[in-house]
Chain length 232, copies 2
């Protein structure tokens, strides 16, 4: 069976909102989706900062003419988007997500937050009461369609206009199998990426935590490491 | 800097012992190492079963002339090997490793055990008091040099004589940075594999647990999935 990009749904025109779109990861993803022609809304606690980030993004190299990139506060962006990416720092995750329960009802929510701590020995995974960041989001958003994805994407690579392709697989964890195609189609908007179903939400913790290993790899090998699944 | 196989140490002649060498994973690794010309000792609770597994391995296609593959009980194999791979089922891990403390003193120990449970929803990671299987081994073997590696290698691929190359990276977690080269050299004996340093022991849990995701991927895509680290 393998991975088959030809069967992915058409997501042209779906608006992608990025909660935490002024942070490195969120801004980088916003840039890539917009660069691929996807309408993007940048969300932030401050509508002003979101609007400023959107303006900066529109000025970056490679943006197609006429692509929509605008900003708003998180509630507005959640309400106006079809697919909403959660890209906030872990320590704001619970409160930010909880406050968006209503506007996110019925929406596709893609959580890419990695609960990590750092000490003198480097990064390590934090214990999360619900098991993982995405399970926390799923518990807080019972009326949304929730998955984890884009956990391992290097923010510096996303942000670098000189980088045309990012060779890695986006691992998708969800209870909602019908979501996988849509999120894989979103991943495929970034050249070099594939979206791969990688298990249920109860197996998302280790994907979030694996980011600590990627940081260790980056340090040791001076790389921007990602993961490619072999044999598919 | 990146990954550079040219700097790996020469491990020719080092004897590799496989504790749990009659199981699928252990037998498969033994086959690959022996096929590459590495002297291999198969360990089992029963010396007879180990000797029988060694005899079966020697008869497999691709074995170089004169390669050493023999069997013995776990204590004997631990004592006679330079590098010892722990490949026992998780539920026998603690007792097996604890019983080998003396013969493993001063040895390199490579733990490839994944603590997983299975229910109707498939595989999931088990909670380990010490944090991970390899941390349990490190706690039980204070005089050994311990790492996790070979956690993600597909046993069916290892066992298939028709398979010449196995394209994946062996993620190595350890506190002993000097071990990494040796274990990477061992991984490199299997064509297609690289050994990559992937963090300290406290970041091994998610590598062991990620095997649950690979099992989910295998089921969904009918694959024998592994992991390749990108950008190195």
């Amino acid at each position: 069976m393998g991975y088959d990009a030809s069967g992915l749904p058409d997501i042209t025109g779906l608006t992608v909102g990025i909660i935490g779109g002024t942070g490195d990861q969120g801004r980088g993803l916003a840039y890539r989706f917009a660069r691929a022609g996807q309408p993007v809304l940048i969300g932030s606690r401050s509508a002003d900062r979101a609007a400023q980030a959107a303006e900066e993004l529109r000025a970056l190299p490679g943006m197609p003419a006429g692509v929509t990139v605008s900003g708003g506060d998180n509630v507005e962006v959640a309400g106006r988007s079809d697919v909403v990416v959660i890209a906030v720092p872990w320590d704001g995750h619970r409160d930010t997500v909880a406050a968006l329960r209503e506007p996110l009802a019925g929406k596709v929510v893609v959580d890419c937050v990695n609960p990590l701590g750092f000490d003198r020995q480097g990064p390590y995974p934090l214990r999360v009461e619900e098991g993982s960041a995405v399970q926390q989001a799923a518990a807080l958003l019972p009326e949304s369609r929730v998955c984890a994805a884009f956990n391992h994407v290097s923010a510096p690579l996303l942000a670098d206009p000189e980088v045309d392709r990012i060779e890695l697989d986006v691992l998708i964890c969800t209870e909602d199998r019908d979501l996988v195609g849509l999120v894989a189609a979103l991943a495929a908007r970034i050249p070099g990426m594939r979206g791969i179903y990688a298990g249920r939400l109860r197996n998302a913790h280790q994907i979030e935590a694996f980011t600590a290993n990627l940081i260790a790899i980056n340090k040791r090998y001076k790389a921007h490491a990602g993961v490619r699944v072999t044999d598919l």
